[in-house]
Symmetry: C2
Subunit: 527 residues, 2 copies
Amino acid sequence: MLTGKNYIGNSLSANGIKTFRTFDPKENTENEQVFYEASSDEINQATELAHQAFQVYRTIESSKKSKFLNAIADEILALGDDLVNLVMQEAGFTYERVVGERARTLWQLQMFADLLDEGSWVDATIDTAQLYRKPNPKPDLRKMLIPVGPVVVFGASNFPLAYSTAGGDTVAALAAGCPVIVKSHPMHAGVSELVASAIIKAAQKTGMPNGVFSNLNSSGIEVGIQLVKHPFVKAVGFTGSINGGRALFNLANQRPEPIPVFAEMGSINPVILLPKALQKRNEEIAKIYAQSITLGSGQFCTNPGLILGIKSKELDSFTNYLSDEILLMKPGCMLHPTIVDNFETNKEKMRQQENIATIASYENGVNKNDGRPLILTVDGTTFLKNPQLHQEVFGPFSMLVQCESIGELKTIISQLEGQLTGTIIAEEEELLIHSNIVEALQNRVGRLIFNGVPTGVEVCPSMQHGGPYPASTDSRFTAVGIHSIKRWVRPFTYQNWPNELLPKALQDENPQKIIRLINNQLSDSAI
Amino acid sequence: MLTGKNYIGNSLSANGIKTFRTFDPKENTENEQVFYEASSDEINQATELAHQAFQVYRTIESSKKSKFLNAIADEILALGDDLVNLVMQEAGFTYERVVGERARTLWQLQMFADLLDEGSWVDATIDTAQLYRKPNPKPDLRKMLIPVGPVVVFGASNFPLAYSTAGGDTVAALAAGCPVIVKSHPMHAGVSELVASAIIKAAQKTGMPNGVFSNLNSSGIEVGIQLVKHPFVKAVGFTGSINGGRALFNLANQRPEPIPVFAEMGSINPVILLPKALQKRNEEIAKIYAQSITLGSGQFCTNPGLILGIKSKELDSFTNYLSDEILLMKPGCMLHPTIVDNFETNKEKMRQQENIATIASYENGVNKNDGRPLILTVDGTTFLKNPQLHQEVFGPFSMLVQCESIGELKTIISQLEGQLTGTIIAEEEELLIHSNIVEALQNRVGRLIFNGVPTGVEVCPSMQHGGPYPASTDSRFTAVGIHSIKRWVRPFTYQNWPNELLPKALQDENPQKIIRLINNQLSDSAI
């Protein structure tokens, strides 16, 4: 079923000489299929095709684009257990995790299909002419969002389905009217080829132009670099490490024509334990956090990597509970031996910092590529002084910081790097008493959680997934939910344009019955 | 009345040793007032104050911020002819132009005050909890736009009021909840101080925190560089040259924490003359374009610097009409002798390119700093080959390109750099016949005009002022109209937050009666 080739638009291609294979972390062995890294020529062909396809695709009616997205969902589902098994083989996930992630991927496709069918997402804004206004007549102006052009999406290691080939970035870009070139994650080249085959089938069945989608293999950084530098590429979506995301961001901004890069990068997702909550719910909190820290072997961008509390006997007993709970967890397989190696190295680096103590370290016999959880602790003063302790350790890891006082806690929060999320575990009255803590945390995060865990990102319109740098490269956008489409569109105005030649969204008759801002009033009426 | 000092928040300060004076281009003489360039210490004080003020200002109710903006308008108006005369003295404008620009400035303040009073601009998005959802309960999620932090605004040379101290960038940032530090344009240091005094008065009268606004003098690039690099600064607004804007953009992206720069830069605003329109309305088109090219001495970013037509006898006679009309125009004073010098140098550079001919060159006796209009012409092949001919010549200048064919015209358009606007002069049926021309132009611009002129930017919700690079650094935003506020805000989500502690915009009761997206339906109801 797999070929190991690249999809250059609708065609399979393997002109390159560099090859690689993926790895089964559960079996601790290389998978059989050989993949052909995209050559420089193939990259140029894919971008040229995307550029040409854009001229057609951007003008295709919303209802047809919606059918395309739904068809992708159908084709992915039709891959059945071939796909599920391959994800397990390339990512070490459990069957349940893969099926869950596939459901999310299908839901995202359907959500954007619905958005296109409804149609109001283009933010149609109309100011009608005032021909007799003094001193000058006012022209007729009509604005809507239009696609920016071909988008390059980098597959994520930790979401081989939901944030990769047909994942959130891709579906938002396709919905916006942008062709997509995926640079698949080297760990998931097979999954990416399978999903790409589904997208290509869907594109052909629904009459989409050749080049609306391509899927390129790569094992190193060259393919990504050439893509981001290519003049036909107009935006980039990335999920991964700070180093990787920043490198792409720099590259894109150094182009003669800079382009936007939305990179969702590192986050340690601070959790603040306020005293009264600890007094009341010590054990319960420890239990849900042991689960959250180890969920998916800690390989989520919302993993709670930092817990902040104030020295007290309640914090001590929380520590004991957390230690017990962590040691009860069953470690799970990580994505790849290099991920496991990095996890072990980074844990060791943390352990060797000054004034660090261990709360819980899972050392029992585990399988070769399982992630062994580790919880460390440090005092607030040391944490403040040592930025090394603020680094993300990707995996089931968390650092508990024991502060001297609320004042020190606030100082630590306000000096934290930007984060995707911040969580406050508190009794309700403590939010008021410590409003300065809440405000300091709000300045550093994209999402604030009350008495919950940061893991488990709901895909819905009110989700913000992004935050101040380095959580993401541009806090003004989200990577999750319908509003993530805004990364790939720009406002465009028609002045005094003939009504019948305007896009439907802007025509007097409002044939799509969408909600529009007309002379500064929202309305779904005709003009 | 003027002191020549900087406003560091509410205090006048002049600790620096570098001084400079502004210039009266009409009188061709330096103005009397000496200005003190902001010192490094003063810059640090202003950013520290802005950082502190942000913690307070962002939590101040919309209705109070609205009063602040209206108070700024009142105080600017109260400056009366002192302000009008000073603008004339520092910019060489006519009285009418200054009064017109002041009206626009006041309108912008009022428009954003109204936006705050209405309140729906925060894009409140709510998904209510589903406690019994399987397999996991759905949390309550509520999202709204919040300010990014202190914003630095660079005053524009060509809009000393409407795009400077209390101009579009500043008012959008203040409305968003961001403190503003203005680096005033060196040509308009006096105007900036006067307007700053109005803003400070308004801030004090309406109880805004000290540091919500500062105004710094500078004659070189150092003050701007230090501001953009300062860690407390979270976004930048700039209107000016490509070189200046790109330098700031690069600087901001090289920071450890990159910040967004919205720079509205160069544009030659191509105008396409289609054959049938020329056959019918030759003379009329020439007349309105002679006016548009010379309006405000050509010192508008929407000045039509490029006219594209197809060789024909109608184009020849258009050329003759345009030549006659241009020579009938009365040249006006430009902003500054250096602007005049640059204009003369750039005109001369253009004239010396290969295959260039002159259509109209105003050489009659004019005042010292008047801008003498120039219209050149060149064939399409030469224009395609020589990117030097695509450069903006800031002033009353335009280049008429005579294409061999519609095919060549399309090639030229699709290879143009990004532009603020594109105009098509055509009979309606020509838009259909030449739809590929329209589509090619749409890809390169932010606003498409039918049978009009690009100058005269309406300030209204449906205006897009921005476009593909280098028209602006990020085509996904506008610099004009209510949506320009989106440059300075980021989405922020509360998860399971207690209702009474949420911002009003997100509370169940919807006390502000704003329009919100609740469970994916727009509504102004309570929950």
